[in-house]
């Protein structure tokens, strides 16, 4: 067997796992690995970000669109602490990542050595697995395990802390993929009895309703979900992270649930008799007041993670397993039915929202530009084929509400953590993962400035991301809450912004600023005319609002349609 260094063993292990792209940033305690990377340039592409947080978000964007594990390589100390936000984000949004952090040599551990931080200690609560390599020999084992854990079951981030002595130590390289860990059961067995009970409940239901989440995308159950709907005629709605799992135009797809979701699915949650939750976790942004949420319904909860069943909403029937397998087994047990009346009730409510909210937002005849009309226009001009990436805030909710989708894995957004600054690097990662598709990234004037340094990554890699800043000169979502719940006391939410077009130009990125309705379509067409990076700044109405809205902690059956009207 040939002897190689730990650094080389790491790179060879990554190649064994099929890794093609790594997002990272070098530093003292990871230099041997970066040195070896130099020899493997043609096999392993490294994307040099401008801040380690950007590396993780880019890896997340990459993972979300491609379904592969995102890989991050950073140094110890500040390099490692800079990845924390991204790791926490990946944990709560179940995104598979392997994050490798350099570490001081083992003999220095615990001595407060230069750039030493207790990375395993810090990351334990926000990772699926966090492990410090002890010696070079352990590397293939640890990396194989890391990839197996990150991608299997409910996916999530793994952190591997890599002391320098293990990077330079010599070892015999032999790689064996991991497919079993005695203490870990990635997919819990599905109890056949729970399927029988669920089928009988669904077959008897009068007003059944399905809410699906990212679990459908992660388990690639899009077809099975569609088959289920075709057969049973049950109306369905998506969570924020489930978006794009069903095509937007599909007749039984009734929109999105949650705080800024659609009127039909939110209200009907509290009228259905059987609520079938598939691969979603009843986040409080979905349920609002848990004490009044779906109390009338019998809940069937399908999830791969046993700790989700009954965590927030009590389930009449919990079905453990991977959504794809469960639906494959459940579908044949269900009767072919139709719920025309019931389905139409969703449409009627959505029509009210359409008149009161959607048409005014997306087709205004005069006044300032609206965020919603920009999003709708981009969606239309990309034939609903683009990957939509968002930042956080009003821009995120508008992008979620007014983008339409034809393909799965087309919506990338920070859901559980709501991380401002997520979008720009995530869009870069998404474009690198899916270079042949348009990646349109909607952001706010606030959020883009939280990771604006990543324009440098775009410059270096010439990543053809289409950046659309929906500039309202406010931290808009916070301003909206101040308007609604804090007597219009706009404490620290007004933004004086730089010249974004000049900034883009400094990074060699083409751009245009639009503030008139007449110029919008032309500018979007120009942006979409090639595969180059582009920054489109759209000045939108300053005090725009995202409606409808369920104010925090209120009941899902009553939504604000405007500042004064409720339904």
């Amino acid at each position: 067997m040939e002897k190689i260094t730990g650094s080389e063993a790491l790179i060879r292990s990554l190649l064994e796992e099929g890794v093609k792209t790594v997002f990272g940033y070098p530093g003292g305690q990871i230099m041997p690995v970066f040195d070896k990377l130099y020899d493997y340039k043609d096999k392993l592409r490294h994307i040099l970000v401008r801040h380690e947080q950007g590396a993780v978000h880019a890896a997340q964007g990459y993972a979300r669109v491609s379904g592969d594990v995102g890989v991050v390589l950073v140094t110890s100390g500040p390099g490692a602490t800079n990845v924390i936000t991204g790791v926490a984000d990946a944990m709560i949004d179940s995104t598979p990542l392997v994050v490798i952090t350099g570490q001081v040599p083992s003999p220095l551990l615990g001595t407060d050595a230069f750039q030493e931080t207790d990375v395993v200690g810090i990351t334990l609560p926000i990772t699926k697995w966090s492990y410090q390599i002890q010696s070079a020999d352990e590397i293939p084992w640890a990396i194989a395990r890391a990839f197996y854990i990150a991608r299997s079951g409910r996916p999530g981030p793994v952190v591997i802390d890599f002391p320098k002595n293990a990077q330079i130590g010599m070892m015999d390289f032999e790689y064996k993929k991991c497919d079993f860990i005695r203490s870990y059961r990635p997919v819990p067995p599905t109890d056949p009895h729970s399927l029988i009970q669920a089928a009988s409940l669904i077959n008897k239901a009068q007003k059944p309703f399905i809410i699906f989440g990212q679990g459908v995308i992660l388990s690639e159950a899009e077809e099975e979900l569609k088959n289920l709907l075709e057969k049973t005629g049950i109306p369905a709605a998506s969570t924020l992270l489930g978006l794009s799992a069903l095509p937007s135009g599909y007749s039984l797809y009734k929109g999105m649930v949650g705080m800024h979701g659609n009127l039909g699915p939110n209200k009907k949650t509290n009228e259905c008799d059987v609520l079938i939750a598939i691969g979603m976790r009843f986040d409080d942004r979905v349920t609002s007041d848990i004490h009044t949420y779906a109390k009338q319904a019998k809940v069937i909860h399908i999830d791969i993670d046993p700790s989700e069943i009954g965590k927030n909403v009590a389930a009449e029937i919990g079905i453990l397993g991977n959504a794809k397998d469960v639906l494959q087994k459940l579908n044949p047990m269900l009767e072919r039915r139709k719920f025309e009346e019931w389905s139409k009730e969703f449409d009627d409510l959505n029509e009210i929202e359409n008149k009161k909210v959607i048409i005014p937002e997306t087709q205004p005849q005069e006044g300032d530009l609206n965020m919603g009309e920009v999003v709708a226009k981009v969606s239309e001009l990309t034939n609903n084929e683009a990957i939509i990436v968002t930042d956080v805030g009003q821009n995120q909710m508008m992008a979620a509400r007014y983008s339409k989708f034809n393909k799965s894995r087309s919506f990338v957004s920070s859901g559980g953590l709501g991380t401002m600054g997520y979008g720009l690097p995530a869009a870069i990662g998404a474009k690198i993962g899916m270079p042949d598709r348009h990646v349109c990234f909607f952001t706010g004037d606030g959020g883009i400035q939280m990771s604006i340094q990543e324009l440098g990554t775009i410059l270096q890699e010439n990543t053809g991301v289409k950046i659309i800043i929906l500039n309202n000169s406010w931290l808009g979502m916070v301003r909206q809450w101040q308007e609604l719940f804090f007597d219009e006391r706009y404490s620290e939410t007004s933004m004086k912004n730089p010249d974004f077009i000049a900034l883009a130009a400094a990074y060699g990125i083409k751009g245009k600023k639009v503030d008139k309705r007449a110029d919008l379509e032309g500018a979007i067409k120009e942006m979409l005319s090639d595969n180059e990076p582009y920054l489109l700044e759209v000045n939108v109405i300053e005090k725009g609002m995202v409606f409808p809205m369920i104010p925090g902690g209120k009941c899902v059956s009553k939504m604000m349609l405007t500042t004064t009207e409720w339904h």
């Binding site: 395993v120 200690g121 334990l124 609560p125 699926k128 697995w129 966090s130 410090q132 854990i149 497919d179 079993f180 860990i181 005695r182 203490s183 870990y184 059961r185 067995p189 993670d305 046993p306 700790s307 009954g310 965590k311």
Partner: protein, 190 residues
């Protein structure tokens, strides 16, 4: 594991047993799950189990059934944890051990301390000129009662171990899981 006398929202003392691999940092992984929900760990002990290589944590905490159910599921979710269970006092046989240090002079002054030792079913572990160490095994109330009695003569040092507990079933609860996992491993191989 169902105890119908205890309702979902009554706060009571639960004993959690966690079976895990013997890995660095496992205690931390388990304890942060309690910390996150602001649950105080009342006692803790870690030891080997009857299955080779499998470690067993015994943790007690005061909380509600609905809370402990969620905590146990989240503990089980950790990669290196095999299984976790929770029990009420009635479902297990449990013990603690306590050590008490008193002045030997006080012991020799009269028969009173010796009588106490006999009455409480305790025993003397060590005697020297200066101090005597007494040991008692029992439930928390029992070791506490001896403390109260001895303290009338002055207890110089006192320590009580975490609870250790054994279920009323024949074997370790985790063995079924290990068997299922073995079947899965063999299937995966094919």
């Amino acid at each position: 594991m169902e105890d119908n006398n205890i309702k979902q929202d009554d706060v009571t003392l639960f004993t959690v047993t966690v079976y895990s691999e013997n890995q660095v940092g496992l205690l931390n992984q388990v304890s942060i799950i309690f910390t996150r929900r602001n649950l105080n760990i009342w006692s803790l002990s870690v030891s080997a189990s009857a299955i080779e290589g499998v470690h067993k944590f015994t943790i007690t905490t005061h909380t509600t059934r609905s809370q402990i159910e969620k905590v146990v599921k989240q503990i089980e979710k950790r990669i290196d944890v095999l299984r976790a269970f929770f029990y009420t006092n009635e479902e297990i046989i449990h013990q603690e051990i306590a050590l008490y240090k008193v002045e030997t002079e006080k012991l020799l002054e009269s028969d009173e301390i010796e009588d106490l030792i006999r009455k409480h079913n305790a025993r003397i572990l060590e005697i020297n000129k200066i101090f005597t160490v007494i040991e008692k095994t029992g439930h928390c109330e029992e070791t506490g009662a001896l403390f109260d009695d001895l303290n009338k003569y002055g207890v110089l040092q006192f320590v009580r171990s975490g609870r250790i507990a054994i279920t009323k079933d024949r074997t370790e609860h985790v063995s079924v899981f290990l068997e299922e996992q073995e079947v899965r491993r063999l299937k995966e191989k094919q």
